[in-house]
């Protein structure tokens, strides 16, 4: 089963006073994806961290086949309360806001999954989209 998709990030700020010396800072990237493999893991994280494996994942594609990943290029993560998500190796990790989305590149090889950790004392629902091959 092949996939098609995109990961786009658009960050733009500008000074809103004055007209002659306005500063604009921006960081924009749109990656179109026409090859590779994608999987999603979702669940609830409480006071203990949750491990998400990439080989195999629990995700099934449209054909009903379990999806496995050897390499992960990027992840996109969403959570209902502030959480962290990191490579199981600990080499890359990001903090995601409540009801927000974080994007993270990875070291690509040599990982077997990700760890979702809570920052507060309650529970949070999370969705982790992993793109790789």
């Amino acid at each position: 089963m092949s996939v098609e998709g995109r990961i786009s990030v658009d960050v733009l700020f500008h000074d809103k006073d004055g007209t002659n010396a306005i500063n604009v800072v921006s960081l924009q990237n749109a990656t179109a994806i026409s090859t590779g493999t994608v999987a999603v893991a979702s669940g609830v994280v409480g006071t203990s961290a949750v491990s998400v494996l990439i080989d195999p994942t629990t995700y099934r594609d449209a054909s009903g086949n379990v999806v496995s990943l050897t390499y992960v290029n990027q992840i996109v993560f969403e959570c209902s309360a502030e959480c962290t998500v990191e490579e199981s190796s600990g080499r890359a990790w990001t903090r995601c806001p409540a009801n927000g989305v974080s994007v993270l590149g990875t070291e690509q090889g040599g990982i077997d999954g990700f760890v979702v950790g809570p920052l507060g004392s309650g529970t949070a629902t999370y969705t982790l989209v992993m793109y790789g091959s």
Binding site: G5, V9, V11, D15, L27, S63, L104, G105, V129
Partner: protein
């Protein structure tokens, strides 16, 4: 000097084979900002580890921008293999980027100490930080 801005993330994937069992995965977040402070740090980095400083960033009025309650950070690296941006003060995050792909993370409110880790190639980097103070 006041600011206006946005941070938007849009990820969407779909299986491209078949028509009857097409699966779609998507995560999207768009936040608007009408207050706070923002800085940009950009430049060329060699292969050695590099500490990034943003104490000399100036807004459109020429005033030095200083951040207190940092909340969001976006990072991109131009090289074709992932380069890590470390927060070396409190290890608040460890971000990876390659080929201009943007990584976005939350911050814990402290002023981060940013370090590009040693790498095998040179390239350009961009970091944007937003603080809510």
């Amino acid at each position: 000097m006041s600011i206006d801005g946005r941070i938007t993330v849009d990820a969407l994937f779909h299986d491209k084979s078949g028509t009857a069992r097409l699966k779609v995965l998507s995560l999207e977040s768009s936040n608007g900002y009408t207050s706070g402070q923002v800085v940009r740090i950009t430049g060329t980095a060699g292969t050695a580890a590099t500490t990034l400083t943003f104490t000399d960033y100036r807004d459109a009025s020429g005033a030095v921008v200083s951040l207190v309650n940092t909340r969001k950070l976006a990072y991109s690296w131009s090289g074709s293999t992932p380069r890590k941006l470390n927060e070396s003060g409190t290890t608040d995050f460890r971000l990876m980027s390659k080929s201009g792909e943007a990584a976005v993370t939350n911050l814990d409110g402290t002023q981060p100490v940013l370090q590009l880790m040693a790498h095998d190639t040179t390239g350009t980097y961009t970091v944007i930080i937003w603080a809510d103070d």
